[in-house]
């Protein structure tokens, strides 16, 4: 029984990482309709940022994290300016920015692979690698830290979208771009903010996961796939959907490995089965977008 509760903590922490990546997708997809598969690479770049600031230069943890987050917000903004805005302004079809961002994925990965080398690099956790036991629930300090930070990020995202004017303008653009523009909402500003915020959230995912998996140049793509699956499960319409999708995916994945009487290799197929099932049965995900409730 202790295994079960131990796994709940570990799976929730993994689910939180997936959820952050899903939120990173969502922040761009919702107002712009663009799917940015480079979010995983943003997380990877941030993980290397964590390596440089926290391992190599040994900056205090909050300073290192703040530096990396600020840098990644800048990278997100710059990505939009370089790879997306010129295409949109020239009236390129909707697929063009998606392909341009796939190109950016390769650019980010190769820049890191050439600049930092192929070996994985360590990123230290804030509270060390100790183990915390809260009654039946037990897990590493880092797992509890991941859960706490993710809860804060999602609470902030929910507050932004539900309670602030800027967040409402995102929602308005998501519901009807043209009408939002006619109402005076600056579409360029919303798009730039979406990319910057998305990169910040992806960076948080990278910083949180890297003490466990270390920073390495191939870590982006698996995160991008896991986050995308979580997004499909939860639905692209609502912030809560990303969190729900991440948690469902991680729990399904890890409880299958632990308890399902199937060969070890087959358990790897669980995320893909979930992805296909949701695309077939409920392509809008578990939580529907706001406009469909109107």
């Amino acid at each position: 029984m202790s295994d079960f509760f131990e796994l709940i903590v570990g799976a929730t922490a993994s689910g939180c990482i997936y959820a952050l990546v899903a939120l990173s997708y969502l922040l761009i997809t919702r107002p712009t309709g663009v799917i940015n598969f480079a979010v995983g690479e943003w997380a990877m770049v941030a993980a290397f940022g964590g390596f440089l600031t926290l391992s190599r230069f040994e900056l205090p943890y909050p300073v290192g994290m703040a530096l990396v987050l600020a840098l990644m917000i800048g990278v997100g903004w710059l990505t939009e300016r370089i790879a997306v805005r010129p295409l949109v302004e020239k009236g390129a079809p909707p697929l063009a920015p998606i392909l341009a961002l796939l190109g950016m994925l390769v650019v980010f990965r190769e820049v890191v692979s050439v600049g930092m080398g192929p070996d994985p690099q360590p990123v230290p956790p804030l509270f060390g690698y100790g183990r915390l036991e809260l009654g039946l629930l037990a897990g590493s300090y880092q797992s509890f830290f991941i859960i706490a930070v993710t809860a804060t990020v999602f609470a902030a995202a929910w507050y932004f979208f539900e309670r602030t004017l800027a967040g409402r303008s995102f929602e308005a653009v998501a519901i009807d771009r043209r009408a939002a523009a006619l109402m005076g909402i600056n579409l360029r500003r919303v798009t730039a903010l979406a990319f910057a915020g998305s990169a910040g959230v992806a960076a948080m995912a990278g910083l949180l996961v890297s003490p466990n998996v270390s920073a390495h140049y191939l870590m982006g793509l698996p995160l991008a796939i896991q986050g995308f699956t979580a997004l499909v499960i939860g639905g692209v319409g609502r912030v809560e959907g990303a969190l729900l999708g991440g948690l469902i995916l991680a729990i399904a994945e890890q409880f299958t490995v632990r308890y399902a009487p199937i060969p070890p290799g087959l358990a790897q197929g669980v995320p893909l089965v979930l992805l296909i099932a949701f695309l077939l049965v409920r392509p809008t995900g578990l939580l529907r977008a706001r406009e469909s409730r109107a």
């Binding site: 295994d3 131990e6 692979s113 070996d119 994985p120 870590m219 490995v257 790897q268």
Partner: protein, 385 residues
Amino acid sequence: MKQIFLALARSVVATAVVMAAPVAMAQNTIKIGMITDRVGPAKSFAEPVAAGAVYAVKELNAKGGVLGRQIELLVEDDQGRPDVSATAARKLVDAGVAFILSVSLTPATQQAQSVSLETKTPHMTPSNSGDTLTTQINNPNFWQTGPLGSTQISTLLSYARNKNFTKVAVVTDNSDLGQLTARFFKEGLARANIQVVSEEVVPRGSTTADPQLQKVRAANPDAIFLAGVLTPENALILRSYRQLGLKQPLLGNYNFSIPVYGTVAKGLLDGLAFVDAFDPARPQTRQFIENYKRDNNGTEPYNLNGYGYDGVMMVVDAIKRAGSTDKEKVREAMQATKGFQGVMGGVGSSYGFADGKRIGFDPNGMVVRVYEGDAQGKVVHVGVK
């Protein structure tokens, strides 16, 4: 007028001679091709092997090359992809290489053999460990001199013989080589009548190995054999092992001999036994370490650099004995290699192809070392006896 014309003609001829000189020199070199992985999944293994090969060529050229000619290393990147690897091999053959070295992934090397078989070009891998490379294709032009997966498990079992394991767990990852290594480990364990009570896979990109290690803990094995070759996932396994309070002995494949573990798995390594093919106490190895450091601003080489170094040295040794770069003569010379002392392998081991076989690593050449804290300890066991 005639003098002006002659002067012009002389300067044109002189210019042509100067321009043609490098071409003539390039034509006079002995070309060795190398297929590596610079951007794909094998990059972290392939690049250090390639660096060892580059260093070997530099060292040989400084001593005058071979057969009175300088050696030119032509490098191709196959991205770890079999289809690209075959194309790269074709390109190298067209460039006139005397030998091809493959240091990329095992499946890529397998595919590149289709070209060396067809064009009868001598071809070897100094680092791939898959047992199937010389058995699936009957290619008399191909040799494998890295330690095999089956040798790794035999060496580990030989080391653990007095521990009387009866039931063990095997944990691996989902990479091609990880799966292949796990297969050889299971076959070796079956031959030794040791039961595998838990077999787990930690896929590439996992964020935890807790569920897999919980299953291992529930199966209560005598020991845990680690067959995975992906460093981040292996670090995850070690982290979960410590977090979940497991105490069983850990026995790792050669991947755990890469020095990067000392940083990415810091604090998690103490007591882990692992196979290696590098013994710093061996005289040739000690010499290699000193020379390499001197030539690379103090950077100390490790086992992967040694594979590439030995590969080039063996190829050049074969060319020297063949007395030319004629493909058939080089093939015969390579096949006749015996007692070649490289920098890899335990003290007293050597490379050679016995009984017409094309596997060159000494079956008793692997060693077992144990981590002391985060540092790789001394050799505690040699060979399979």
